[in-house]
């Protein structure tokens, strides 16, 4: 009846996950109770859960990422403490628990923090920057988000019911095969990634179509803001790479569930094929994450330097070059496979070549700043911090792209330091910069600058104190994923890294405080103009937060930096015609499809993990029924009458007119 599920699945003998699980459960129940008692449930359901508005979905993505950041961060703290004290002792974590922690940390940080964060920002901003009303497929967008949430939910369930994979974040066979990992850990891993992977693919298709087909009048490709370009590149990579992940995990699951022999040691299975396939996805994946961050930095640097982006066209070219080359480097993840010097040389050179377009970008940002009027607001701090940090991370990357050096450094703490260097210093700094930068657009008030700067400085210094020691430990020969060790020389560096972790954590706490303080002071921080940073692209042309339809009219774009030009020409070309003629606007109706889909996906995923076959069938039928019901809808749009559009738009224009007259005074 319940497959493999019984009471032994709950780890009563392990206090840490149980207590953590209990705390989280109490937290969730408390929030739910508060929502129900305060009567917010209908509001949540109508305005958020069933919403197909790209801005709301973007916010929910970022919320999911933030919550999961706390989970993945807790794992990181536990690991750093373990390695600091596990010198000639077992530390405080049993090995099998430690192995689950590092696997979960990697999986969560990539799939459920970095991915939803950048996809959330793209969702929120890209249609606004393109000057359109929505993404190409609004309901599908909601489905994509909720499937991602399903994956995150399954990973978190594994904390209390059963176990998570002990295989590392990419579940290499044969360790992840049934004979070496008979538990449900790998199944949790694979099914949560399968489900959230479908969500990501959907988001990718949606955003590619949005950028290519839904641009406002006059927005040629070479007038798109840089963030739209990097979004396009990143989502093209999603569309091309995520199916590889789907196929690879499907093969692993077939091996585990039906006794197939893709990656087994027996019957001719080929383990190295898994490495090739998973990295053919996995290497583009890091560019999927970092390209949007590059886009964010481009926007931030040009806004806060008060200058158009230097070398816009070379930036576009560099972005697309990275997009293509990222598919030609995957083998550098296993130079030690024994492919021979020729193959290794080709992939080594390809890996180094990626540094060229990336270097182009760095110089473009520097030249954008050169001669500009730089304002060191919080987003700009993150951008400058990124430039310094990412150069170090990039250079160590070029170092390990040299096959002989890689033979020495692969699987060492040096590697761990390198990829944290680029992922934290690149993606996470970018995500934080974007968060600070676009927060007023999403919510209508700015974030507190003082706490923002504190958060930046703690995170920035904490990052260095944590990861520079890891570089050193790697040079000293320490390998990754060690539960405990006996080498005295490593210990001081591990302690330093743990101290760095404490500083880093302080940075995260500052960010939470910043949010709380800002929400309390929101009246003082209110952004009435819709353009708090004196921005350059179209998202600043509408109010903060934007109305559901984004723009009363599709803006007519006549150059790069669309909104900047509008402002510059505001005198001759005033922002609005005397009495513009408003039209009815059709917007997509809300739909519970995404939520219901995710509900059935959760049931199906859970049932598959525990081999509860009747429940699998139930979930499958439910998912199909949801689509049929959705397809049967007769009215998928509603009309916002012209009068209502006019009323909303006039308020916006009024605020903006005062802004323009103020700008004229300066």
């Amino acid at each position: 009846m319940l497959g493999k599920l019984d009471w032994s699945a709950i780890p009563f003998d392990q206090p840490i996950p149980l207590i953590a699980g209990a705390v989280v459960l109490i937290g969730i129940l408390a929030v739910l109770a508060w929502v129900v008692v305060k009567g917010h449930l209908p509001y949540l359901w109508h305005e958020w859960i069933t919403s197909v508005d790209h801005k709301r979905i973007g916010v929910m993505y970022i919320l999911l990422a933030s919550v999961m950041l706390l989970r993945g961060g807790s794992d990181a703290i536990m690991m750093r403490i373990q390695q600091a004290i596990a010198y000639q002792s077992q530390g405080y974590l049993p090995p099998e628990h430690y192995n689950q922690i590092f696997s979960a940390h990697g999986t969560i940080m990539i799939f459920f923090v970095a991915m939803p964060f950048v996809i959330g920002l793209m969702n929120l901003v890209v249609p606004l920057q393109l000057g359109v009303r929505d993404v190409a497929f609004p309901t599908l967008n909601s489905v994509g988000f909720w499937l991602t949430a399903t994956g995150a939910l399954l990973v978190n369930l594994s904390l209390v019911i059963g176990e998570f994979a002990r295989t590392g974040w990419l579940a290499f066979p044969p360790l992840s095969e049934l004979s070496y990992s008979p538990g449900v850990g790998v199944d949790y891993y694979a099914w949560s990634l399968q489900i959230s992977g479908v969500g990501t693919l959907v988001a990718g298709i949606n955003l590619v179509t949005t950028v290519l087909k839904l641009r406002t009048k006059g927005m040629n490709y070479l007038r798109m803001p840089m963030f739209c370009w990097t979004t396009l590149a990143s989502n093209l990579l999603i569309v091309a790479a995520f199916p590889i992940l789907t196929a690879t995990l499907a093969m692993l699951l077939l091996d585990r569930y039906l006794g197939f022999h893709f990656f087994t040691n027996e019957a001719g299975g080929n383990v190295m094929m898994f490495m090739n396939l998973i990295w053919a996805w996995g290497h583009p994946e890091v560019y999927i994450l970092v390209l949007p961050a590059f886009g964010i930095f481009s926007e931030v640097v040009s806004t806060f330097s008060g200058k158009a982006l230097f070398g816009y066209r070379s930036m576009v070219l560099a972005t697309m070059a990275i997009c293509v080359i990222s598919f030609m480097v995957w083998l550098h993840h296993f130079f030690t496979m024994g492919a021979g010097p020729d193959v290794n040389a080709i992939f080594g050179i390809a890996s180094m070549i990626i540094a060229i377009p990336t270097g182009v970008k760095i110089y473009n940002w520097l030249f954008t700043m050169y001669g500009g009027r730089i304002r060191f607001a919080t987003p700009m701090l993150w951008a400058v911090g990124f430039m310094v940090t990412f150069i170090i991370g990039g250079l160590t990357g070029v170092l390990v792209a040299v096959p002989p050096a890689d033979f020495m450094l692969h699987n060492s703490m040096f590697l761990v330091a390198h990829f944290h260097n680029v992922i934290i210093g690149g993606v996470l700094f970018g995500a934080f910069a974007g968060f600070e930068y676009w927060f007023p657009k999403a919510f209508g008030f700015r974030l507190d600058e003082r706490w923002g700067k504190r958060a930046f400085w703690f995170t920035f210094t904490g990052f260095y104190i944590t990861f520079v020691p890891l570089y050193v430990a790697g040079m000293l020969g320490m390998t990754r994923r060690m539960q405990h060790y006996d080498v005295a020389a490593w210990r001081p560096w591990m302690i330093a890294a743990a101290i760095g972790m404490a500083v880093l954590t302080t940075g995260v706490i500052c960010q939470i405080v910043q949010l709380v303080v800002s929400i309390r002071n929101r009246e003082a921080l209110r952004d009435r103009t819709g353009d708090p940073w004196d921005g350059r692209s179209l998202e600043w042309a509408t109010s903060s937060p934007p109305p559901v339809f984004n723009f009363a009219f599709h803006p007519d774009v006549r150059g790069e930096d669309a909104y900047w030009d509008l402002k510059a020409h505001a005198k001759q070309q005033s922002l609005e015609h005397e009495s513009p003629e408003y039209h009815d606007i059709e917007m997509p109706r809300n739909s519970p499809t995404g939520f219901v889909c995710a509900f059935f996906a959760t049931i199906m995923g859970f049932a598959l993990i525990w081999h509860i076959w009747w429940m699998v069938i139930l979930g499958g039928i439910g998912a199909f029924a949801t689509f049929v019901v959705f397809a049967w809808r007769d009215h998928d749009e509603y009309v916002i009458p012209a009068a209502e559009v006019a009323r909303i738009d006039r308020v916006n224009l009024e605020e903006r007119r005062s802004l323009v007259s103020m700008a004229g005074a300066v």
Binding site: L214, T216, K217, G268, G269, D565
Partner: protein, 213 residues
Amino acid sequence: MAVTATYGDAHADPHHVGRAAEHPGPASKRIVTAYGFWIFLLSDIVMFSCFFAAYAVLADQIAGGPKGSEIFDQRNVAIETVCLLLSSFTCGMASIAADVRSRFWFYLGMAVTCLLGLIFLVIEFKEFADLVSRGYGPSRSAFLTSFFSLVGCHGLHVSAGVLWLLTMMAQVFAKGFRADVLRRMMCFALFWHALDIIWVGVFSVVYLLGSGV
């Protein structure tokens, strides 16, 4: 347009893109839907290419079991291929019928497509069942693993296509040739033709190359 002319200072158009490259604005829903679906199809083909690659890597790993030439029945494969290629034609006829709003020819075209798809699936299922009963199931060797997965994955897509096809017929029956139904029909047709293209790959790589060995 006059607006562009009055706006013609050098600053606004630094790269002299000019009016020739003027972008007209968001595309129509029909274009957007078809475009998005094309991109999905491309991603699906990437997924298939992984199974093709796995087959190429594992095709010789027979682990003492049968080789491809020992288990493939050319006659069945020929019938399967004819069914599928023909169904693509009838699917095209159904699309045209939908375009000219002819219910009768639409139902007929779809019904024949469905029938041909089902014949294909039955033959494939029999082939699989036969192999399993002879002890040549997917767990026998890595070759059989990759064979069953690649061909089975295509078969699963055809099954999903049949389910979708029936839903389309029901939609036309209940709602008529409404704009959104027609858009879905267009996507379905793209899907069905794409399955054909993939089958040509399966047919060539698995059955033709495999039989020669």
